[in-house]
């Protein structure tokens, strides 16, 4: 593996590991319900104890996402949210004192249309240290990985229980952390997980020195606690996005916005407890 300079994402995992903690990683869709509120939500997430945040770029055809995140994408796209909006939001949160690392979650086509060079220079300028592209498997990621490395952006791979023989190849190109997909299917809350999951995570951990996070379907405090025991990071997406969806009426009125943000903060605190 080539030598990669460490970035804020790597440093955060090192610090958490030293403290014996698991990274709590919320996912939100940028621009849901609007960019200014997204900035407020990110501030609230850090106050609630988030260690890293995944910034979802809304997309017209989110293949890997279930209905909750699809709806968030649709709400955001009404406002013509682009990748550039996501960069603006990231920069804005820094002026509001947010310190945690950002991981951009985007489908490949918006990146391709921006142009890879411009995309990565903007990533660097916006201070985003990680990148997840759910529809860019390792076989197609050569050029993106080289540019990501050059920009000191960690291209975080997804690994699924069905990856089997491909796991070794995926891990050999992994940066930042390994994102283990908890189960087959799209994103969305799940009540139960399949039995082989723990063994799967264990085998991934044995094959790589990078931190291992789990995501897809994790939606309550009990599940977060359970996975925190065996993973270095836990991603919660749809459950938080659903909470945001429920809070949209509050968030969009000046007088009730604080109440809406408070509800999101409390919900996330509860998840982490």
């Amino acid at each position: 593996m080539s030598v990669i300079t460490s970035n804020l994402l790597d440093e955060t995992f090192v610090r958490l590991q030293e403290e014996g903690k698991t990274a709590f990683i919320p996912f939100i869709t940028v621009g849901d319900p609007d960019p200014a509120t997204t900035v407020d939500i990110i501030v609230a997430l850090e106050q609630a104890g988030a260690d890293i945040v995944e910034l979802g770029v809304p997309y017209s055809d989110p293949l890997a996402d279930g209905p909750v995140i699809q709806r968030a994408s649709e709400r955001a796209l009404v406002r013509k949210i682009t990748i550039d909006t996501c960069f603006d939001v990231a920069r804005e949160t820094r002026t509001r004192g947010v310190n945690m690392p950002f991981v951009l979650f985007t489908y490949y086509n918006p990146v391709l249309q921006m142009g890879l060079d411009k995309f990565f220079s903007s990533m660097q300028a916006a201070g985003i240290s990680g990148l997840i592209i759910p529809d860019l498997p390792v076989e197609e990621s050569g050029e993106v990985l080289a540019l990501a490395d050059a920009a000191n952006v960690s291209l975080v791979p997804l690994v699924a229980p069905t990856s089997q023989d491909r796991i070794a190849v995926i891990l050999s190109k992994a940066r930042g952390f390994i994102y283990c997909v908890s189960s087959l299917g799209v994103t969305g809350e799940r009540a139960t997980f399949h039995e082989g999951l723990e063994a799967f995570i264990k085998s991934v951990k044995e094959m790589s020195d990078l931190p291992v996070a789990i995501g897809f379907g994790i939606s309550n405090a009990e599940q977060v606690r359970q996975f925190s025991k065996i993973c270095d990071g836990v991603v919660v997406g749809s459950a938080i996005v659903r909470k945001i969806e429920e809070s949209v009426p509050l968030l969009q009125q000046g007088h009730s916005k604080e109440e809406g943000l408070l509800q999101i903060r409390d919900f996330v605190r509860l998840l982490k407890s």
Binding site: Y59, S60, D61, L63, A64, G66, P67, Q70, E74, L77, T82, I83, Y108, N109, P110, V111, L112, Q113, M114, P134, D135, L136, P137, E139, E140, P157, L158, V159, A160, T162, S163, Q164, R166, I170, V181, L184, G185, V186
Partner: protein
């Protein structure tokens, strides 16, 4: 010309496999199985048997004398895919993939459908082979194609109306892929067009090439030479690639793909991917795509539900870029005029999709001579569209 696709599923720069990690293994397994059976004599014999005895192949290559005379130019033949069982070329591919599913030990199949033709073909083959079948269909299309929805139900399939996005074909594809991600262990996805991630564009082409193979044999028998021009409608592009592929090396044979211009390529309401699209990654492969500057996929429009798709199969993008095939847009109105013309001159009501191909020939044939041989792929019959045509007419349209 080099063999496409290469081992990465690339047709030049196009194609590939841009899908969530959860699907990669299923696609690799599918490719392996397909490669294994591709040259298996027994597998091929089973397909040939069903194409002949069940679907009624070979389909005629019919000399459309009255249409030829009416247009007063090129000599026009119709490849009668509309005479297949279920009324369109889609059955060729559904039989191939259905048998492959069975060989792979899958008990359940899923499919996406726009016009309903591929859904009906899949439901039919599922009934024939004893497989459980679910068809994803945009809610908008379930309204436009109520008869096909009912046909699928009669055949024992479950029709799942898709409420996401634009509620048309592209969203039905998304939903089928999402369902497949969750159920890869026991489910086979019978994809209906020459689109999607590798190996689908290659596999669908190979199951559809029977159209071109037969045409070649039949035109040689009828005319003693190859045609000068092949014309076929393109949505995703499966009937066109099936017709074109066996002629790709014959550079004297012009290949013309016809896409839907809807209300016009300068309006927002069209599906003219080749005329107005740019390169992008969509539903698993790199190809031309209707999208905005930020890479968001634009909604497509066509009176024909089967052409109402913002993408196109990667091999067509390749044929366009190497200038082996040309692609032209035809509006809703031009297609309806052509449907009208073919119905009146030949007693054949074509599907709205196929009417686009006829419309392009209406434009081209008068400028050609009787020595020029043109073959139109008449991909499907028009019964399913009668209601849409009536609605259009009552809405102040032509006829």
């Amino acid at each position: 010309m080099t063999q496409v696709p290469d081992e990465h599923g690339r047709f030049g720069p196009f194609g590939g496999r841009y899908v969530p990690e959860t699907l990669m293994n299923a696609l690799i397994e599918l490719e392996k199985s397909y490669r294994h059976y591709e040259d298996d004599a027994e597998f091929q014999a089973e397909i040939s048997y069903l194409l002949k005895q069940y679907s009624g192949r070979e389909t005629p290559l019919y000399y459309a004398e009255r249409l030829t005379e009416h247009l007063g130019g090129a000599k026009i033949y119709l490849k009668r895919e509309d005479l297949n069982h279920t009324g369109a070329h889609k059955i060729n591919n559904a039989i191939g993939q259905g048998i492959l599913a069975k060989r792979m030990g899958k008990k359940k199949v899923i499919a996406e459908t726009g016009a309903g033709q591929h859904g009906v073909a899949t439901a039919t083959v599922a009934a024939l082979l004893g497989l459980e079948c679910k068809v994803f269909m945009g809610e908008e299309d379930t309204k436009r194609q109520q008869l096909n929805v009912f046909r699928m139900k009669l055949l024992g399939a479950e029709v799942v109306p898709v409420l996401s996005g634009t509620r048309t074909l592209k969203d039905a594809c998304n939903e089928a892929l999402r369902y497949w991600v969750s159920n890869v262990h026991d489910t086979f996805y019978i994809l209906g067009s020459a689109t999607g991630p590798h190996p689908y564009p290659m596999m669908v082409r190979n199951f559809q090439r029977v159209i071109g193979d037969e045409t070649r044999r039949q035109i040689l028998e009828a005319e003693g030479r190859l045609p000068d021009m092949l014309v076929a409608a393109v949505g995703g592009g499966s009937n066109a690639i099936g017709m074109f592929y066996p002629f790709v090396e014959d550079t004297d044979v012009q290949m013309v793909g016809v896409e839907a211009a809807g209300r016009g390529v300068d309006t927002e309401f069209h599906a003219a991917t080749m005329t107005k699209g740019t390169k992008g990654v969509f539903q698993g492969s790199l190809s031309y795509l209707l999208q905005d500057a930020f890479g968001q996929v634009l909604p497509a429009h066509s009176i024909s539900a089967g052409l109402d798709y913002p993408g196109i199969g990667p091999e067509h993008s390749y044929l366009k870029d190497i200038e082996r095939a040309k692609y032209y847009p035809i509006t809703d109105k031009e297609a309806l005029d052509a449907l009208h013309l073919l119905s009146r001159t030949e007693g054949i009501i074509p599907a709205l999709e196929s009417a686009h191909a006829v419309a392009q020939v209406v434009k081209l044939a008068p400028n050609m001579t009787r020595d020029d041989l043109v073959v139109i792929c008449l991909s499907g019959r028009g019964d399913k569209d009668v209601e849409s045509i009536m609605a259009y007419t009552e809405g102040g349209g032509i006829l």
